[in-house]
């Protein structure tokens, strides 16, 4: 009866209750959706890091990471592979030869890490090959008499391998993408012109377009004007096994785009066989074993097992390789909780105010209830339940709306195009698919109930202090 009465009391003053419910709904929706976006960005970052960049476990010589000395290779690779493959929970293993060097084109140069890989094995551990920009190459699929290199989009831009041009096909494509004619007219003077770098292209475009036009169409113009000449070349120079300067000309076997500027700028993949030949390393020499696991959460456990089996080697799991990722995944739930607690604390003041009004308005009724024998515990519970119902109705509506918006936006993602450069510089994609776990909703529900209970304490104590005889005299 107390539950039923409390529920009915919530709807006694519909307008006032709806104001509180709507404020809770908006607060919860805002909090949950913002967290879903953050969570989506972080999950995408972790997913990209583990599938494109580092995978789950690395094994190398203990001193290798200090200065990437070419001579610190792994011994007895077959024995090593047997040991690794005998460990449960491992799905794939690949190896890499890693050297540092310089990438040069006619106009630019950049310091890079050159990764010698076996393309087929690499595909079993990483899905970097899936991020190849169409039309730029095939990730070493096609046999070639040339040396081949697979590079990141940002490095390709830096080395002026990617250029920008505006010609008739580009303008036609822009028409199809509904760029207005007024903008097209401004671009027409550039037809036939090739820009040497992204910077110079953007400088010219900014010179003719308004800020609004840049914001609305800048991205699509840049994407269409992007141009790459098949089998572009660059020179890689590095020190060989004898510490002698060496190098060779490599043709581009593809350009990958993982929306992480740092990784794209600093890594070049080449065939391991080519790199061994150029460095003078033996065919069974390489620097790093990379292991993919069935479950990323078992990385610590499996890396500990492998460390025990391979005491002379350095075994590092992804949490040790990229502690920032580990910190994010470990801490993020706490951060989300704090975020929601702050929102609910703000909402709690509104609920307290409403419940105080409820007690004030119902003084006579509360006096009557005490007079006829409703004890303090029941009066307290009734007011507490009203407060919890108020919060919970708003909270549930907020969560339902949040989930609906998350599902809708997760279909195509949300594009934060204006922040793309900054986000990609930090390794985050600007195209985010919001996501939230069902467990999060359980946590929010518990927090809402706690908020309702805490918000009711002060008003309920006020109600308990009422003297029934005096309360009954109230008009």
């Amino acid at each position: 009866m107390i539950w039923k009465t409390a529920w009915k009391n919530v709807w006694r003053n519909k307008v006032r209750s709806l104001v509180v419910i709507i404020s809770v709904t908006i607060g919860i929706f805002g909090g949950v959706f913002a967290i879903a976006i953050m969570n989506g960005a972080i999950e995408q970052r972790v997913d990209a890091a583990l599938n494109d960049e580092i995978s789950h476990i690395h094994i190398n010589d203990p001193a290798f990471r200090d200065n990437y000395d070419i001579q610190l290779t792994l011994d007895q690779p077959d024995h090593l592979l047997q040991t690794i493959e005998a460990t449960p929970g491992i799905t794939a293993v690949t190896f890499r030869t890693i050297i540092t060097g310089m990438a040069n084109t006619a106009t630019k140069s950049a310091g890079v890490q050159i990764l010698g890989i076996d393309p087929e094995k690499e595909k079993t551990v990483f899905r970097l090959y899936e991020t190849t920009i169409p039309g730029t190459g095939d990730f070493f699929e096609e046999e070639s008499r040339h040396l081949l290199a697979y590079i990141g989009e940002d490095l390709a831009k830096e080395l002026n391998i990617i250029r920008y041009r505006i010609d008739e096909p580009v303008l036609e494509a822009l028409v199809r993408k509904e760029v207005p004619l007024s903008v097209m007219e401004k671009l027409r003077p550039f037809v036939g012109y090739r820009f040497k770098s992204e910077k110079s292209f953007q400088k010219e475009i900014k010179g003719v377009l308004t800020l609004k036009e840049q914001r609305d169409y800048g991205r699509v113009i840049r994407e269409e004007a992007w141009s790459f000449r098949q089998r572009s070349r660059m020179t890689l120079t590095f020190l060989d096994n004898e510490q002698m300067q060496t190098g060779a000309v490599f043709r581009i076997a593809g350009i990958f785009d993982i929306r992480n500027s740092m990784f794209e700028m600093s890594h070049i993949l080449v065939k391991n066989s080519d790199l061994l030949q150029l460095t003078g390393l033996a065919p069974d020499q390489f620097h790093q074993m990379i292991i993919k696991l069935e479950d990323m959460q078992s990385a610590t456990e499996i890396s500990t097992t492998l460390s025990e089996k391979l005491p002379d080697l350095e075994v590092m799991n992804w949490k040790e390789i990229q502690p920032d990722l580990a910190m994010m995944t470990d801490m993020i739930q706490k951060v989300y909780t704090i975020f929601m607690v702050i929102i609910l604390a703000a909402l709690a003041f509104g609920i307290v105010n409403t419940m105080l009004m409820v007690v004030l308005e119902r003084t006579k009724e509360l006096g009557m209830l005490t007079a006829i024998g409703m004890n303090k515990k029941r009066v307290f519970n009734m007011i507490m339940l009203e407060s919890v119902f108020l919060s919970l109705v708003g909270g549930i509506v907020g969560m339902v709306i949040s989930q609906a918006v998350i599902v809708l936006t997760a279909r195509n993602g949300i594009n934060f195009a204006s922040y793309q450069e900054g986000m990609e510089a930090m390794g985050y994609t600007a195209h985010i698919y919001p996501v939230i776990s069902p467990l999060f909703f359980v946590m929010v529900t518990i927090l809402i109930i706690i908020t309702g209970i805490l918000s009711s304490i002060y008003p309920a104590l006020k109600a308990l202090k009422l003297d029934p005889a005096e309360a009954l005299r109230t008009e």
Binding site: K4, K364, T370, N375, K376, A469
Partner: protein
């Protein structure tokens, strides 16, 4: 059999400037089945006396004993429990719970006393029939007239079979017809269930119906008459 003894009760309200002797040395006994009216002018102490009897207020001096229980010996929580089990209240302005139906209002106290559903339903229907509202069991107070609301209040007061019902000016807001209906119902319930009724009133129609009339003035009993 005595159900209520009031022994030399005083109630003094001390405000910052004035000392009000609301009840001044009153001693009264009530028998089981009494149908008594406490009458007197406004400010004579009727409501204060009812509040003291009902355990809503405590006397400054003297004793109130209900069924051998001295109310002075009960703490706040004990008093609430005492009221729930022993006293039915009827208020001047009905004081029903507006969000509950007539049926829910009547069974509210039975719920507090944890009666089972079958017993509750039977008792509620029996009482609503007795007060002539069996066809309005699902109506909320706002949909009932003043007289009907007061009848629901009487049904609620009797729901848990209390030792006595205290009614503070129960007919003050009712028209003649509703007053007559209500008084007849209360008298019938008093006879059938043997429950003691004590009214505070200055309504002549109630006084006429009452079998015992206690007149108080300035907090003191002036007369105590029993009718045959």
């Amino acid at each position: 059999m005595k159900v209520l003894e009031i022994k030399n009760v005083h109630k003094i309200y001390n405000s910052s400037e004035v000392k009000v002797h609301a009840v001044n040395d009153i001693s009264l006994d009530f028998e089981e089945g009494d149908f008594a009216a406490i009458v007197g002018p406004s400010g004579s102490g009727k409501t204060t006396l009812l509040n003291l009897i009902g355990g809503l207020d405590s006397p400054t001096e003297g004793e109130i004993i209900v069924d051998h229980i001295n109310l002075a010996g009960l703490k706040s929580s004990g008093l609430i429990d005492f009221r729930m089990r022993n006293i039915g209240f009827v208020f001047q302005s009905y004081n029903l719970i507006p969000v509950l139906t007539a049926k829910e209002n009547v069974e509210f106290i039975m719920n507090l006393q944890k009666w089972n559903k079958k017993e509750r339903d039977e008792r509620t229907l029996e009482l609503l029939k007795a007060v002539g509202l069996e066809d309005r069991i699902n109506s909320r107070p706002a949909k009932l007239s003043g007289g009907q609301q007061q009848r629901v209040a009487v049904a609620r007061a009797l729901a848990s079979k209390p030792k006595f019902v205290l009614a503070d000016e129960p007919t003050a807001n009712l028209d003649s017809k509703s007053t007559e209906t209500l008084l007849n119902i209360m008298e019938e319930l008093n006879r059938e269930e043997g429950i003691t009724f004590i009214f505070s009133t200055h309504d002549a129609r109630v006084v006429k119906k009452a079998r015992r009339v206690i007149t108080i003035e300035d907090g003191q009993v002036i007369s105590d008459e029993r009718k045959n």
